[in-house]
């Protein structure tokens, strides 16, 4: 497919140095700009997806403010805050990963990808072990599984539906992000990224920031309203 460009392909160096754009792009910059625009469009769809969730939250909170305040009071602000800090750190490291790729610092790139992935793992573990599991034990579950006997408001199952629905969709994005970060790490170890070619690092980095940003909105809306 890239026979037409074979003549212009730089020889020697790493994969990233030799990289040539797909045949339907003029050059690497053209490809990079196009991919970046595609990623931004994709991220706008992500924002709109969560926007639906937030609108649902707003309407139900307006209808049942008591249930939301009572439900929010049963969340652990400590673990929520810790997870916020964890994600903020990962945002920093993923930005550093992109910077390292741009500067061609292979070791730093891999280090930051690993730290970001560890933060993501920590987030999921905290979510499951210290938040979901105890609530499941106490019966604070959405809809038909709700069996918590001390609910103060009859609409509390609704709150747990919003809580579990929004955090589970967010956590799914974190887990997908872990997969993407692992993929980046494997490629980084093969020397796929460098100053001339870091499109994938940049794209995943942007995705990761959006996942963090959604949490920045979820945290106060869910944990800090009582």
């Amino acid at each position: 497919m890239s026979t037409l460009h074979a003549d212009h392909a730089p020889s020697g160096g790493t994969y990233a140095d030799r990289y040539v754009a797909a045949a339907h792009f003029r050059d690497r910059d053209h490809e990079f700009e196009s991919v970046k625009m595609g990623v931004w469009l994709f991220l706008s769809t992500e924002i709109l997806l969560f926007a639906g969730m937030f609108v649902g939250y707003a309407i139900l909170r307006m209808l049942h403010p008591e249930a939301f305040i009572a439900g929010s009071g049963k969340l652990s602000t400590f673990w929520g805050l810790l997870n916020t800090v964890v994600l903020l750190i990962s945002s920093w490291t993923v930005a550093m990963a992109v910077r390292s790729a741009q500067l061609g610092k292979q070791g730093a790139l891999q280090f930051h990808l690993i730290v970001t992935n560890l933060c993501a793992t920590a987030f999921v573990v905290i979510k499951l072990v210290f938040e979901y599991y105890p609530k499941w034990q106490e019966g604070k579950l959405p809809g038909k599984w709700f069996s918590y006997p001390y609910a103060v408001d009859p609409s509390e199952p609704l709150w747990w539906g919003i809580y579990f629905g929004s955090t589970a969709i967010h956590a799914t994005h974190v887990i997908i992000g872990m997969g993407l970060l692992t993929w980046l790490l494997i490629r980084a170890r093969k020397g796929h990224f460098g100053p001339h070619h870091y499109t994938a690092v940049e794209g995943v980095g942007l995705y990761w920031h959006i996942v963090d940003m959604v949490w920045i909105f979820l945290f106060p809306l869910l944990y800090l309203i009582h």
Partner: protein
């Protein structure tokens, strides 16, 4: 038409060409190699053809459901007592079972028809098939921006369709294509297979949304980044503008239906209660969510149809399109306004103030739509009109879209809508727009670009017969529905009073004419593929790049050389269309290349 050396014949003379100079349809080897080549292709032309085949197949399924619906409505359902025994008459879908069963089958049939036609046919129809094929060709690009994502979108489409077919095999869904709560979350109680069929259908719509987003995202980036040298935004063919407007809506509206359907599945499986009034949830919230996507998506359906009409009317009138910029900007205006009018689907369920506001905004849509119609008619004025099959379809579109558009105005008027809502008037209105406009434009577009896509001409005589059958059949089917709707016939009922008998019977007979018309077209297509005359590269004298710079069918990499754009897409007065037959398009006198820019 005169004979022109076809690109097929031409190739023999040159000899020793590279592989990529061969037509994209040229088989790569044996049957299995060829199948694998298609199944793994990232060529936008092949993916467009694969989409076309898949969409036409789903169109057939949805059409059969429509025929069944019309058949049931041929006679009203009655339970009459004859000689002391209860006898049910007019129950054509009951298959000898009870009245209840017959009504259920009817509900499943119209749901099937609606869901298939909306999610699997009309939304992807023009963009995914013709758009995929033509967008890079018209822009002078080798492919869409993300070819692998493009192939993925086709597989996702097929996967979604499989989920929909699974729902049908499990017995079908009777919620209507809108899945309104709380009915959709409570019908078919838990405990057997039937419980899962609605989940399967909702999942199908959810999955198809991804396919739609992938296509839309791909097209937006392609239009922004892959235009040929010399092609500015206002040098693009208006087809591209229409597809671009639709693609933006696809990207921005579809995620909202994604979250809505996800919540609906949670609601059904886990009873989370967000849309359940019994638990304190809000079913109207579902309606808002649903229409926040499903109204803009109406313009995903119509904008690509309008896009086709631009090309057909200009090329078969041999006239510069009237008010290019007005048409281009009206596309964007429709796309923008489409996001703020969803509330007109909820006039009877939302608050009064909201209804007034949404009614007012709804009328705004009429302005850019009317601009387009005026411009098309102005383009026709004093043009050298050739009444080919695509042109007949374009004229049919003008006629039907005007009816469909104007009948939207009484529906947008609050006081009138209270009488007309949920009646056959609504059914007739949106069929005039969705089928009478989008599908008509789609069929016209397939004919227009058929020689380019498959390298063969079709039989013009039979295609025209097909057009007249479709056009007459369509009007016979749907025009009586305006009248019975205005007289109070509600939609979605299997039975009716005698007052409506004559309208329903005319309508059902019309649906048979329509069916015959589509079968004629199917025959025309198959005949063309098997025995059609080889197509010249530019049989219609078009000035857009797919006609002037690509072979029929195009080579694998679209163009031998990257095209350079030095004239507008509709400069018929100034530029002789490259690759066209000079005898057929004698005017104007050919100018030396590059003698005139724009």
């Amino acid at each position: 038409m005169t004979t022109i050396t076809s690109p097929h014949a031409g190739h023999g003379d040159h000899g020793g060409h590279h592989d990529h100079d061969v037509s994209y349809l040229h088989p790569k080897g044996g049957i299995w190699t060829t199948i694998w080549d298609w199944a793994s292709t990232i060529d936008h032309k092949k993916i467009g053809v694969m989409y076309l085949v898949a969409i036409l197949f789903m169109f057939f399924l949805g059409g059969m459901a429509a025929i069944a619906v019309r058949l049931e409505l041929m006679e009203p359902t009655r339970e009459v007592t004859v000689a002391g025994k209860n006898v049910v008459t007019g129950q054509l879908l009951a298959f000898g079972q009870s009245l209840q069963k017959g009504n259920e089958n009817y509900n499943r049939m119209f749901t099937l028809h609606g869901a298939i036609m909306v999610f699997m046919v009309i939304v992807p129809s023009v963009p995914a098939s013709l758009g995929n094929f033509l967008l890079p060709l018209m822009l002078g690009a080798k492919d869409v921006a993300f070819p692998r994502l493009n192939l993925l979108s086709w597989y996702v489409y097929v996967l979604g369709s499989i989920f929909a077919v699974a729902a049908i095999i499990m017995g079908g869904v009777d919620t209507g294509w809108t899945f309104y709560t709380p009915y959709s979350t409570t019908t078919d109680v838990e405990g057997n297979m039937a419980y899962w069929r609605i989940v399967s259908m909702i999942l199908a719509a959810f999955i198809l949304g991804f396919s739609s987003i992938f296509t839309g995202l791909n097209f937006v980036v392609t239009v922004h980044k892959l235009r040929a040298p010399g092609m500015g935004w206002f040098d693009m063919p208006l087809f591209v503008w229409g597809i671009y407007g639709a693609a933006i809506i696809q990207v921005l509206a579809t995620p909202v239906i994604g979250i809505t359907l996800l919540l609906l599945i949670f609601e059904r499986l886990f009873r989370i209660g967000i849309f359940d009034p019994a638990m304190g949830g809000d079913p109207v919230l579902f309606q808002h969510f649903f229409w926040f996507y499903s109204h803009p998506v109406v313009y995903v359906m119509i904008l690509p149809g309008m896009a086709i009409i631009n090309e057909i009317i200009a090329v078969y009138s041999r006239k510069r399109i009237f008010g290019y910029r007005a048409v281009a900007f009206s596309t964007l205006a429709i796309a923008a306004i489409s996001f703020i009018v969803w509330g007109h689907h909820l006039f009877t369920s939302e608050g009064e103030v909201a209804a007034v506001v949404f009614s007012a905004i709804t009328f705004l849509v009429a302005i850019p739509s009317a601009i387009k119609v005026f411009n098309w008619i102005a383009t026709l004025y004093k043009g050298s009109i050739r009444l080919t099959t695509p042109m007949l379809y374009a004229l049919g579109f003008l006629f039907l879209f005007t009816i469909g558009g104007l009948t939207g105005l009484p529906l947008g008027t609050l006081s009138v809508d209270l009488h007309l809502h949920d009646s056959y008037f609504v059914v007739a209105h949106f069929h005039y727009v969705m089928m009478g406009s989008t599908i008509i434009a789609f069929i016209g577009g397939i004919h227009h670009w058929w020689p380019k896509m498959f390298g063969r001409m079709y039989n013009e005589f039979f295609a025209k017969i097909g057009f007249w059958l479709v056009f007459i059949g369509f009007n016979v089917t749907f025009f009586p529905q305006f009248m019975m709707g205005a007289h109070g016939m509600p939609r979605r009922y299997a039975s009716y009073t005698d007052e409506f008998l004559i309208y329903h019977q005319i309508s059902t007979i019309g649906s048979w004419v329509l069916l015959v018309g589509f079968l004629v077209h199917l025959f025309v297509f198959i005949h063309s593929l098997l025995a059609g005359r080889l197509a010249p590269p530019n049989p219609c004298g078009g000035l857009t790049l797919e006609w002037t710079d690509a072979a029929s069918p195009p080579i694998e990499h679209n163009f031998h050389h990257e095209p350079v754009v030095n004239h507008g897409p509709y400069d018929y007065d100034d530029v002789f269309p490259k690759q066209a037959d000079p005898k057929e398009f004698p005017m104007p006198a050919p100018l030396p290349a590059g003698a005139r820019a724009h």
